[in-house]
Symmetry: D2
Subunit: 136 residues, 4 copies
């Protein structure tokens, strides 16, 4: 089973006065990769999922280690792996790599909620099925 | 009539690898100042305005000159002045200053729309009245 | 002469509580497109330009109109056109389009400065030459 | 010993299309609070520390739980507590609260590095001393 990877280019907006990528931005890079990964699994956008299926993913927990800095113009590869997939939540392991070096990695826990009241709802069936196929 | 000013402290998140504040962030600083200015005029939050009055401000045009750089830890003062106030839109002049030096300045045009369909609606009466009192 | 375009996907990070893209983010999208456009002209990254050529581009003026909203999952095309190229600055016209509709457009004025003291310096020769070939 | 708290107002820039604060932004709020907390301890800005003392703090690890959503106009209180302070790094516990409810909380691990090469250096003496006075 091949590892899902999404390319992320570093622009001025991503850096800070330390001359490197502002650490909080890795959470954005991870999310971009998750979104494209989800699209690759079920051809479903987040907006469509919200409007048509009444379900929205929200991040409930993040644990990230920032190991090595990225700089302007770097082209990162951001991976997504399912660690655990339940009926209303999932846990993913994600990494941002540059030329084989891990820059940042961590686990992201995500819940599925109703856009109307933010209460937990079941992950839509086609997504859940795809997730479970990807689980270890 | 005194000039409305709102303090904005510069943090790492605001800077880029050039060692200075990322220019796009002045639009955020201007908006923070507008929000506090509006609150000072009518004691009304944006969320409350959206939920209770069915009106939401959207920015339709920005013209900004970036004159001098701000750096980490700087404490800016951001001003708001009404240039023109109509029934469905207004134009403001805003400045970010540091110790008497203008860092960035420009005009921001804002429309009032329905949150439901983003169509123009009249600026809620108490706000419009306060705006017109502030117009030149 | 073909128009340079760069794709920009809309993610959660780009949106706000109005359900649409936060207007200030178009400045980021425009910059991503400019960076890739510059790379396409001279195969030179911004970091490399800063380190090796002692030159850095800074934005000195932006005038943008926000015409139509973008939403989660939209795939924009962002264009770059040279309006004017001088020895220490240039003016570009940029547009963000979605399926043939203009969402935002405007002019961006950019100066070339020394990273050390932020004083104006000449645009590096290979870039200037490429720019002048693209000027109207 | 009183708990350090820093107020953070929620603006449009902080929210996303889910109508709530974008989770990655809590890392920004935590950092603003840490910066003001540090300033309260030693009257030293981050830029000054970088320029004069050749030391810069970088975040090496973050573990955050997002428990309850914040919305436009909310006024959060963000706290900072020292969990552990060593010679080249420290671990802090931080919370974002709204009217007595915890919205997000977690631990942030921070290293002290040289701005020149990003290698670990000792935390400047006046800061280290102040930190150790605050440790449990």
């Amino acid at each position: 089973m091949s590892l899902f990877q999404h390319p992320v280019r570093i622009y001025w907006e991503d850096t800070d006065a330390g001359g490197i990528v502002f650490y909080a931005n890795y959470l954005k890079f991870f999310e971009r990769a998750r979104t494209e990964w989800l699209r690759s699994l079920v051809e479903l956008g987040q907006e469509q999922m919200k409007q048509e299926l009444g379900a929205m993913f929200v991040v409930s927990e993040t644990a990230v280690r920032y190991l090595s800095p990225a700089r302007l113009d770097d082209l990162l590869q951001v991976s997504v792996e399912v660690k655990e997939a339940g009926r209303v939540s999932m846990t993913l392991f994600q990494r941002a790599m540059l030329n084989g070096t891990v820059l940042a990695e961590g686990t992201i826990r995500i819940g599925c909620v109703s856009p109307a009241n933010l209460k937990p709802v079941r992950i839509p069936a086609p997504i859940l099925q795809a997730l479970q196929n990807k689980s270890p």
